[in-house]
Symmetry: C2
Subunit: 329 residues, 2 copies
């Protein structure tokens, strides 16, 4: 148990009017307890935290209970059923996010080690022959490259070739990758508990028609979004800079998702660089910057790096060049 | 959308008195829709299923709602808040488990391909030098071997050396593996959507003192538990056979977990071979058999295979020999 983190979460509980906080095995438990075991961790503003197989007996009827946002529905329903309707349940996400968003120096160093490992995997991938392989085959190779670069676990592998690159949520298929294809590659994993997340565009032998012009827009927008990261700006404002820049290039309706998301113990965590997130960015917050343009039926392009907000603006944790990667030359 | 599975889940909804079933991106959604997209799938006993970003508007106040047991607490709390206390929520686990537990021929074939791939990874691991490596290094190698054997994703890698093998929930550490160590290896992954799960005991150069006698008990119990799998027996009865056999060997209090669990689209799914599970085993059900003995401070031993229940009893999907694997000879 990290006493400092425990004290800070207890202070937040009092602020939020929470009587009991219940965590399950999750990144939240890892953050507070530095390790993960089966069962539930029950925390109150005073008294020692209790690690128990069943949380219900430790919750007084009528309490205000904040539950791990990663708790599963069947676990929550079982607790709700035993405690009855007088007990009020809410997600502990706002309470926990406030703590977890601000990374310590040690956490930022861990995220940088993860980012550099992902950079190495991208560099190795650039040396491979992509022509003639399927998306699934390349996805398996990328997983191996992430592990060879020192990741303990692979959490994300997108390989989307040709027209598939225009689908932001594509999963690898048996489609063969051919010369002239653009390939969207987005990979990430867990490295000593902290996550990496990087996206680069590959082209096989040569880019498809008109692709480079569109790519240069994404590259410029990526730079603009990184520059927008500074203490005091809101997450939504960074997102707006990105959206405005894409719209100004005439691709406004072809950006389908948020500009980025927090990266830490989880691959996706607060803050979310999206129109609704009013989080004020502070030094120590880490987030991905991932502008993209998707042209349905044709191709898409996404560039993603993890950055940390410092006193003077964003510092990129990924060091991979952001230029188009040409394979099979 | 699989029409046959959809019809069967609707019939179950009527049986269970469920008005609305809400699934999130999960193995349950994959089972029913054959693909996973962002958002929620809302299913009613009649009318077409709706894939929507927000499920609440499609749920009439006062309904009986069954939710995906893999839904996250923050998602469920948000739906509960909008619908108010008249709407009753329950986990859809019993409803979905009844369908998913009975595998089709195609599903069993997929699980067998996954098991054989895991067997290949174990065979490759037996050729490696383990002496002098750390648990984490070997864990990374095992991940690569699972991918090289054709897995799309690695979901489970336990490497527990020496005294760590006595902890059933151990995670790989920087501990160096030395000659004379027993090493518990439990690996699994996703292969074309279906999961593998295999545990074998490795010993480096030579087994620790008295280890082989204990291992032979686990091996015999594994055989007895596999023989107990047949149509009409309950999950709890298989667990009891395993527990009784371990107790009869004098190791009764050193078996710390259930005898096994279902394996399918999820690494862990119903039925659970544990004292409380009254599920009647039927042909087509697939499950792991994983007896173990853990001697705290000394070592542990676990053997795990995936089996399918046929008309005449268990058929093992893993083909790896269950003998102790000696490395660095």
């Amino acid at each position: 148990m990290s006493d400092d983190r425990l004290e800070r979460v207890r202070a937040r509980m009092v602020e939020h009017g929470v009587d009991v906080l219940v965590l399950r095995p999750s990144s939240n438990l890892r953050y507070l307890a530095r390790s993960v075991r089966h069962g539930f961790l029950v925390i109150t503003p005073d008294g020692p935290p209790a690690h128990v197989p069943d949380a219900s007996p430790l919750i007084p009827a009528g309490s205000r209970v904040a539950v791990d946002p990663q708790m599963l529905a069947h676990e929550l329903l079982s607790i709700q059923e035993r405690l009855g309707p007088q007990t009020l349940f809410a997600s502990a996400e706002p309470l926990l996010a406030a703590l977890r968003m601000r990374k310590s120096g040690a956490e930022i160093a861990a995220l940088e080690r993860a980012a550099v490992a992902a950079d190495r995997a991208v560099a190795s991938a650039a040396e491979l022959s992509w022509s003639g392989a399927t998306e699934r085959e390349m996805a398996r190779l990328l997983r191996r490259l992430l592990l060879e670069a020192g990741h303990d676990e692979v959490t994300l592998v997108t390989v989307a070739a040709g027209e598939h690159s225009a689908d932001p949520y594509h999963r690898p298929t048996e489609r063969t990758i051919n010369p002239g294809d653009a390939v969207l590659v987005n990979i990430g994993g867990r490295y000593e508990d902290y996550c990496s997340d990087i996206a680069r565009m590959f082209v096989v032998a040569e880019p498809p028609e008109d692709f480079e012009a569109m790519y240069s827009v994404v590259l410029a927008v990526h730079g603009a979004a990184c520059e927008a990261v500074r203490p005091g700006v809101t997450a939504a404002e960074i997102d707006e800079v990105c959206r405005d820049a894409i719209a100004a290039s005439g691709y406004g309706s072809f950006f389908a998702h948020r500009t980025g998301h927090g990266v830490g113990l989880d691959q996706f965590e607060p803050p979310y660089l999206s129109p609704g997130d009013r989080t004020v960015i502070e030094p120590g917050m880490t987030m991905s910057i991932q502008p993209a343009i998707y042209l349905p039926g044709l191709y898409g392009a996404r560039i993603e790096d993890v950055v940390v907000c410092t006193d003077v603006g964003a510092r990129r944790l990924n060091q991979s060049p952001r230029l188009l990667i040409v394979t099979d030359r």
